[in-house]
Symmetry: C2
Subunit: 240 residues, 2 copies
């Protein structure tokens, strides 16, 4: 591993990475707001930011000097792979300059008809010093990513592929197997809603963890509180 890769991984070791994303159909969609969100995360002690799109990443860089995991979400017709799905998005992120580029590393067919095992060797050759994070949904996908030469493994897509949609998140069994079996950093991501969740994933030996919705998606947080109210009111157990 190069010195620069070491440096970045040391910077995020045992740190919280806050995902600051709001897609065009979300109420907070705005690079200005994502920049402020990243700044709030920084002030709160975050050690890194995960962000989507060149526009958001540029704005976030103006607000904080933390390592950035960059992605580009792009939906192509006919493929379910949308997190940095093709070499075009990787190239954009590389040219913008982000510390870590994350890409879908599931077994699913990508928009150009290839799989990650065909795409990644080309990326590795073209960008040998770039840190790549594999967004996986299963143990087998993580193993494949490890063998392909990814620099770190993420559980980002566990629960979000057709074949993992029933998993309870965070998937502690998966996270524990990954930290046990692979000697590269494992980054827990997906379904971390409470401080108790994050204690569990760190006790399993992850290098860092990404939390998004629980911090930066007020609509999603509101829904959880509203659902809790509906549940208790409908149960008929309230004293008034």
């Amino acid at each position: 591993m190069t010195d620069n890769k070491d440096k970045i991984f040391n910077q995020i070791k045992n740190k919280l990475i806050v995902s600051c994303q709001a897609l065009p159909d979300e109420p907070l969609h705005s690079s200005f707001i994502m920049g402020k969100m990243a700044y709030a995360a920084y002030l709160g002690g975050a050690g890194g930011i995960r962000a989507n799109s060149i526009e958001d990443i540029r704005e976030i860089k103006k607000n904080v000097k933390l390592p950035i995991i960059g992605i580009i979400k792009k939906v192509y017709e006919g493929s379910e792979v949308f997190i940095t799905p093709t070499e075009n998005e990787v190239e954009s992120l590389y040219n913008e300059g982000v510390d870590i580029i994350a890409t879908d590393a599931t077994k699913r067919i990508r928009p150009d008809g290839t799989t990650i095992s065909e795409m990644f060797p080309r990326l590795r050759e073209k960008y040998p010093d770039q840190i790549f994070m594999a967004d996986c949904s299963t143990y087998e996908e993580a193993k494949e990513a490890y063998e392909l030469g990814f620099d770190c493994l993420g559980t980002t897509l566990c629960g979000y592929t057709e074949y993992t949609k029933d998993r309870k998140l965070p998937d502690l069994e998966l996270i524990g197997r990954l930290t046990k079996d692979f000697d590269i950093p494992v980054i827990a991501e997906g379904g971390i809603w409470a401080p108790e969740d994050i204690k569990k994933v760190f006790s399993l030996g992850v290098h860092a963890a990404v939390v998004g919705s629980a911090i930066t998606r007020p609509m999603e947080i509101t829904k959880r509180f509203v659902n809790a109210i509906v549940e208790v009111v409908d149960s008929g157990t309230c004293v008034k």
Copy 2:
């Protein structure tokens, strides 16, 4: 109670009220962002918004048509009372038009040297049809507010006065006593961080509950996750 007061209280019954505030020293300080936060809360199912300052309230009204609990936080030298502390702030909120005006209803001396028991009768006479919410810190303060003629009781300041700073929040004992003893709406506010907390306060019979930081203050949420990581890493129990 007037028909209009009934209407507002029916609108917020069994609802989540999301507090959308960012003071000048907070990273998200921006009326534009608070308007978007309120919109996100609305999309998530919130039944009301609590907001600070005329500027934020105006922007929020452009974004959502939900009942608003309005406050003006203003620090005056020599007094610890800062939530809508004097008749001037009440007048500003009344002139702007908010469904509910909340004011500090603790026993503490206000900036003009009076107490709530001196100020409130004047407010009640001047604005008979305005709904007033009493932000209290103790049972005795809530009892006083009830007797003064406040329209609803909030636990907002429990934990935030010198004589309640050791209370564990949300203070379920206090909330339970208020809903049991007073026949006006009790609004739980303060220290509600998780859906489990809100289930508990609704099971005690509150009319509505206000959640702020857990939804709209990403810096504070980040701190809780970061503290959890530090705790587990320092404990030395992680497998790596």
